[in-house]
Every structure is written in C-alpha cells, then in structure tokens.
C-alpha cells in the first residue's frame, strides 16, 4: 500500500518535489490537514504556525522552480520548542517563557531556512527538557501514537509523536541524557544524538551545557543522515562546536558491514531488561552478524553509576543556567512584587513547574558550600571512569549496540509521582552524554501489545557515519521502516 504523503520520508518527497510532481504548498497543506485530523488525539504541538508554513512553502516552490535550495527544500518539519525561532514564540515547555518571542534564530534553524525547509510548528517537550515521559510540560502531555494510553517518551516527546503520526515529515529535538533517543524508541522513529560539538548549540535554550546536543528525529535512517548533513558543522557562534569535517552522511549508508566489529556491552542486558525488548534487540544483533559484522562482548563496568553521576552534574549545570529566568529580561514576571528579591522569588516560583524546581534545588545543593567536593567533584570523577570505559571498549570494536530503554513505553501517569523511578529508566542512554559520544535509536520490533522497541547504537566521537551505516543495514534487514501507527481519526 502506498503511504499517504504525510507518512512518507524526506528522500521520497524530495524526489517528487524536485521532479515537480508535487509542490511544497500541496505537501504542506496535506501535513496541516493531517495535524487537524490527529492533533486532538496526539497533542504534539505547543504552537502551530500555519501561515508561516504556507508562506515558507510558497517560497520553497519558487526556489525549486529555479533549481535552488537544499535537499530539505519544501519539506515540512516540526521543531522542539527548545530552539529559538525568530518571531515565533519559544516556550521551552515552561510557563516562565510563555510570552517569549526570540529576536533571532538558532543556528540549526538558520541552516534549515537556507535549505528552504518549512516549519509547521513548535512541538511539546518536558519543561526545560527535564523528563522522560513528556508529562512535565506546562502545555499538556502528548500521547504515544501507537497507543494513546501510553507515554510518548521525553523530553523530545512532541518531536517523536509528531513524526510518528505524520504531523510533520521530520523534526529536531535535543538530547541531554537520552531525550532524542528515548522518545524515538517509544514512538517507533529514528533519532540521533550527534557527538558533543558536532551541531551548534547557539539558540538552544540551555539545560546542561556540557551534555546538551541537538539531533534529528525522522522516519528512516536515510532521512536522519540528510538532517544531520543539514544541521551539522562548525559554528563560530558556539565556542564548543568543533571544526571537524562534515562528510556527506548519505554517501556511505549502503557500504556494508564487512570488517566491522560491533560490541555488546554486557551491562546493558541485565536481569531487569524486559523479555520482549531483549528478544527484539537480540534479533537485531543476529541480523547484523548475518550482514557481515563481527559481534564481540565488551564491558562498560561503570554503567551502573551513570544515573547517579548525571543527577548531580545535569542539575548542577541547570541550576546555574536557569538563574537567568529572573523576571527581568524576558518571560514571566510577577508584576505585583514590591521588592527585587520578592520579584525574583515569586516570578520563578510561579513560572517553574515542580520537576524544574526539584532539579534547581538538587543542583544548587550539590554546588553549595561544603557539599561541592562530596557531590559535584565526585560525580565529575565518576564521569572520567565512564569516559575511560568507552575508550577501552572502542579499542576492541567500532560501535556498541544495545536496547535504548529497559521496557517499551509505560502507561501515562505510571511514574509521574516517583521522579527516581523515571530517572532510572534512562540507564542506557545517560552515559553517552557524559562521554559526549554520538548515538542513535532505530525501531527493531514491536511488543505483543503493539508498542515499538528501539535499538541503540553508540560510537566513538565524530563517527556518526559508522552509526548510520550500521543502522541502515539493520533497517534494510528488518524491513519495518514503512510501518505507521494505527491512529483512529
């Protein structure tokens, strides 16, 4: 069965657009109609921008007519509401930024615009990207398109849900401890967290600056490579972006796995792993072996300390980054406060939600006088041990494969009152960020309840090409990349 236009991939649509069989205005209208149809059930968007999308689509059609524009020209995208978009409200999922309209674009947005891409709206996220279920958003919780009683994952939940449900062709999210890979896994789409420094963070609202990275969510692996091509590369506006060459990541997708060594980190397959997740991932591993890869077992012995280290380091950085929300320069202010201190305190207390407050308190405590060595320094030393684990593993193999999450998506509300339980679900994604490595998630099967199961690939710094090659081989072998969720309309 032919997929509806809104369910197709960037590379399929790019062909139709460039051969003039389809205009971007037609395509964008189809996607906007799809949003009308399914948004009541899914709830992925915070701000839709229909007029802007249609005018961008008309401009893209002119670029296409002249043979101009990039590979994403005319393609409707959704953007996580953590990225500054000039003239379009950017809330970060928080009440404290409800009125904020950025006067500039994030570098990744500038790059998409240069290609002629279309933005249909800003999508939901956990407030300040803090969460694993997208239940911490001040503007509502998106639902999992495969089963709307289940979470879509977080924090880039709106990105994953909008891609899976055909409310856009692809999306950009951000990943601080798994926030692209985990919702991608739960919604059955492809997600990548590039190497720290690969993609400019200029215009990304900061959560934890040493961990944050922007990444694509797409319907297949080739689209992921196309998005990375568009957004990656050095940017003088981000002093942590790296002057590393940017290959064409689509060129090497199908070059095969012969001679490649893939490591299985045994710590990722412990007792608590869901049996269906284990079976789907092991099936994926055997397909990679059949495709020519050599599979070896490796050990990352400090994996179990990742969450503990992360929940010091990330909140510590967040407590500092979020100090800027003081009711003075932008965002919400309690106008009734009569003193400066009262204005700071009441504006922040009314503007931030409970999870953000919890992490600010935790981070402030960890950095406060007398506790710095016990917490922040200790966590940063454990971070070194985690980095060394990976360095050792990558002397023996080219990439590591594992599950993304220990279970498929849980039911809405199940972990909402137990922050620690939600934190523990990030055990397999967090160490990647502590080490600044690239990693991706792609669908590798479904549970008997029909929920998607994700397959994670991690690699050495700047080896996104290797990850994409492995992902492409697995996607070809599995043959499930055309499956779409059964959303009743």
């Amino acid at each position: 069965m032919e997929l509806a236009l809104y369910d197709q991939t960037i590379h399929q649509l790019q062909e139709l657009l460039q051969s003039k069989q389809l205009s971007s205005v037609e395509l964008t209208n189809q996607v906007l109609n799809r949003i009308d149809q399914v948004e009541p059930q899914i709830g992925a968007f915070i701000t839709e921008c229909r007029d802007l999308a249609l005018s961008q689509a008309a401009a893209a059609d002119q670029m296409l007519a002249k043979g101009e524009g990039g590979p994403l020209c005319g393609i409707p995208l959704s953007i996580k509401d953590v990225l500054c978009t000039k003239g379009v409200r950017t809330t970060c999922g928080s009440k404290i930024l409800e009125p904020f309209v950025p006067p500039y674009d994030a570098t990744v947005i500038t790059r998409l615009k240069e290609q002629g891409a279309v933005m249909v709206g800003k999508v939901s996220m956990d407030e300040f990207a803090m969460g694993s279920a997208n239940e911490n958003c001040a503007y509502g919780t998106p639902k999992n398109p495969w089963n709307t009683n289940h979470i879509c994952g977080g924090s880039s939940g709106g990105s994953a849900a909008s891609v899976a449900s055909g409310e856009c062709i692809a999306s950009l999210g951000s990943d601080t401890g798994g926030s692209v890979r985990q919702p991608a896994s739960h919604c059955g789409v492809v997600g990548m967290k590039p190497t720290y420094g690969r993609v400019s963070r200029f215009g990304l609202l900061a959560f934890a600056s040493s961990l944050d990275q922007i990444g694509p969510l797409t319907k297949d692996v080739r689209d992921c490579a196309m998005m990375l091509n568009a957004i990656g590369g050095y940017d003088p506006k981000d002093s942590t972006s790296v002057k590393e060459s940017m290959p064409d990541f689509t060129a090497t997708l199908s070059s095969g796995l012969s001679g490649m060594r893939i490591g299985i980190p045994k710590e990722y397959f412990s007792e608590g792993l869901d049996q269906e997740v284990r079976a789907a991932v092991e099936n994926g591993i055997s397909l990679l072996r059949q495709a020519g890869a050599e599979i070896i077992e490796v050990s990352l012995p400090h994996t179990e300390y990742g969450i503990a280290a992360y929940y010091i380091i990330a909140p510590a950085e967040a407590s500092s980054n979020l100090a800027r929300y003081d009711g003075v320069k932008y965002g919400f202010r309690n106008q009734d406060a009569s003193t400066l201190l009262e204005m700071y305190k009441t504006s922040r207390s009314q503007g931030f939600g409970p999870e953000v407050k919890r992490r600010i308190i935790l981070g402030t405590y960890a950095l406060s006088s007398g506790y710095y060595d016990a917490y922040y320094k200790k966590a940063s030393q454990v971070r070194t041990k985690i980095v060394e684990d990976y360095q050792r593993a990558f002397t023996a193999c080219d990439a590591l494969v594992s599950p993304v999450t220990p279970t498929p998506a849980w039911r809405l509300g199940d972990k909402a009152d137990d922050p620690l339980a939600a934190y523990l679900s990030d055990a397999m994604t967090i160490c990647t960020n502590l080490a600044g490595l690239p990693a991706m998630s792609l669908p590798c099967g479904f549970s008997t309840a029909g929920l998607p199961i994700g397959f994670q690939i991690q690699g050495p710094h700047f080896q996104e090409g290797t990850l994409l090659k492995i992902a492409f081989a697995l996607e070809q072998a599995l043959g499930i990349s055309q499956r779409r969720p059964p959303i009743s309309t």
């Binding site: 009125p99 309209v101 006067p103 500039y104 720290y196 040493s210 961990l211 003088p236 002093s239 942590t240 790296v242 400090h302 179990e304 300390y305 503990a308 280290a309 929940y311 010091i312 100090a323 003081d326 009711g327 003075v328 320069k329 965002g331 202010r333 106008q335 406060a337 009569s338 003193t339 400066l340 201190l341 204005m343 305190k345 009441t346 922040r348 207390s349 931030f352 919890r358 308190i361 935790l362 402030t364 405590y365 406060s368 917490y375 200790k378 966590a379 940063s380 030393q381 454990v382 971070r383 070194t384 041990k385 922050p419 620690l420 934190y423 960020n433 502590l434 080490a435 600044g436 490595l437």
Partner: protein, 95 residues
Amino acid sequence: MQITPEEITKVAHLARLDLNPAEVAHMTDQVGAILTYIDKLNELDTTGVTPTTHALAINNAFRDDVVIPSLPQSEAIKNGPKQNGEAFIVPKVIS
C-alpha cells in the same frame, strides 16, 4: 534522612525560589530519596582521578576582536516584561 526541611528552605532561598510548607515537605522526601540513591557514587574509590567537566578536549576558542553587527537595543529589550524602550524597569533596589 539525607536532607532536612531547613536545608531545603535554605537552598531554595539561594536558588531564589519560594516554597510553601507542603512543597518543602514533599521536596525534602523526594530530594532525600534522590540523594540516597546518589550515595552509590561512594562505592567507587576515585582518589587521584581527574574530574571530567567537558567531554571533548577543547581549549579556549579565541577569535579576532572585531565588531560585528548585533541586535539593536530595541530588539534586545523588547521581551522585557517591563521596559521603557531603553532599559529594563525593576522594583527599587536601593532604598
């Protein structure tokens, strides 16, 4: 207990947050549980281990000191919840 209600109140003040008594109690339990979990880090001997604060070995990123166009003042302050076109207005600081 890993953290007392008094410490939560003190840290909240440092972070410029107002918490009501119910929030303090809830926060004490939840932050306490998280800190108990984090104590796991003490299972590891990290004597002499150099802390990692940044995943890549990047040193200072220098550039030439040249003036480039930046946001005009009116754009830069237009998101201020209270401003007069030139400056942000805040409650009186010195009384």
